[in-house]
Symmetry: C2
Subunit: 270 residues, 2 copies
């Protein structure tokens, strides 16, 4: 099948794709998001997510052929784009020239629904930095199969910056958005999860003294400025802390999440 | 003492300060760097680093007075600056309007010299991302008194982005640059350090099985793309790995450093 060529930045298909990179509202309303980069697009193609459209430059067709082939197989339509169109779609200075539009519903679930109580969970409340969020999702994947809930008002895990930092983890981990702490903690409790709220309080239990080997566990982390909300803290089973010998007021959210995920992971069977 | 006012972006003092934010070569050659932000500048003032010059806007003088007072006490000269000058000095979209120039030699040491073998060490080789580097320095401080060596060709820990991510940790941890792996590993070995090279190799020893409680330990981490260089690996006492149940090819450098620092820290006496 011949792929049509887009030469103008005013082309409506290209403009509609660019709008997905620019706005989380656009992503929600149109149930779609834009991926950039050969590897991320291939990850999307291999994940089973629906890929209505992909775009690639002539240069990318040569340079990234092995990444593009799985993408061509699954996508609804494919377009060759000229470099100015790649610039329009890109969030980076030097675009690789590979993009695809994916169905949002294939990457994130809305609400704590359809959920089997098996895996350890990570709850991120009101995380605002997309780089931090992406990095945490990447770590949650690397350390093995955490389910992640974005609680309250987190930044969008499908923004270009979060996607880039996550290295495609959104396509492989189970990720759900849940605005209500009551809803989330009640559902987890009903399923038998112990929910541990991470706080910078030396009276809370040190994370390395927790018994994560038995039972079902979820750890909740708040945003960098304010920590967990009072509502979330009051709904947790207990509180956990990362003992710190240093003087920094706190670890950043990504570092705290990494330590908590690691402590849960290393105590599970390998 | 009345503080002089700078109204023009062409003022040579302001231009010289702005050049420090823009170029690591400028920072090296002039033995100075520029800090931005009320809190970071106060951290500089309280650290004992020499502060030849500070700058603040009228608005900042009101809003950040408690941060500025320690700065005024230690700095050589202080200038009030108009908002366009603050824009010139700033690396952020909405500057707080507080800046200071610090002596570089007070924040980083050149080479593995004048060094007492007491503390656990972290070696970062060829780390290129200033946000990652700053985040790692912040974690090295928070988890308690690591000495950090930047080995080979790392990005500059005194760039605006690295300083911002480090949250002032550069002013409180011991930080040294050492281009030569031979020099660094030989010096550490002579002092009795065991140097553990972190590699993504499941045949290396799992980090949580290491006995960090006894003796002196240094952990070396390579850059995200390539890992440790062969030269560094060959000079390490042994190799260590972070067991991963997931599918990500590797953790990012900041996440790997966080887990390694945490494993060293939690096994030290608290």
């Amino acid at each position: 099948m011949e792929h049509l060529r887009i030469t103008s930045r005013r082309n409506p298909v290209a403009r509609a794709a660019a709008a997905l990179a620019a706005s989380s509202r656009e992503r929600r309303e149109r149930d779609a998001f834009l991926c950039e980069g050969a590897r991320l697009c291939r990850d999307a193609a291999l994940s089973g997510v629906e890929v209505p459209v992909c775009f690639y430059t002539d240069e990318a067709a040569v340079k990234y052929q092995e990444y593009l082939e799985p993408l061509w197989r699954v996508c609804g339509e494919a377009f060759v784009i000229d470099p100015p169109v790649a610039q329009l779609l890109s969030s980076t200075k030097t675009p690789q020239g590979v993009f695809c539009v994916c169905r949002r519903a294939g990457a994130v679930a809305e609400g704590v629904v359809g959920f089997q109580p098996r895996r350890p969970c990570l709850i991120l409340e009101n995380i605002q930095d997309p780089g931090n969020l992406g990095a945490i999702l990447r770590t949650a994947e690397a350390l093995g199969g955490f389910r992640v809930f974005l609680l309250g008002d987190c930044c969008d895990p499908l923004s270009p910056k979060a996607l880039r930092a996550s290295m495609g983890a959104v396509f492989r981990i189970e990720l759900a958005l849940e605005p209500s702490p009551q809803q989330l903690f009640a559902t987890l409790a009903r399923m038998g999860y112990a929910c541990h709220g991470a706080v910078p309080d030396c009276k809370a239990r040190p994370v390395d003294a927790m018994d994560f080997a038995q039972g079902l566990h979820a750890v909740a982390i708040g945003n960098e400025g304010g920590g967990l909300t009072k509502a979330a803290v009051s709904l947790c089973t207990d509180l956990v802390t990362i003992p710190m010998g240093g003087r920094a007021e706190s670890l950043n959210a990504a570092a705290a999440a990494t330590i908590l995920l690691w402590e849960m992971a290393r105590k599970q069977e390998r």
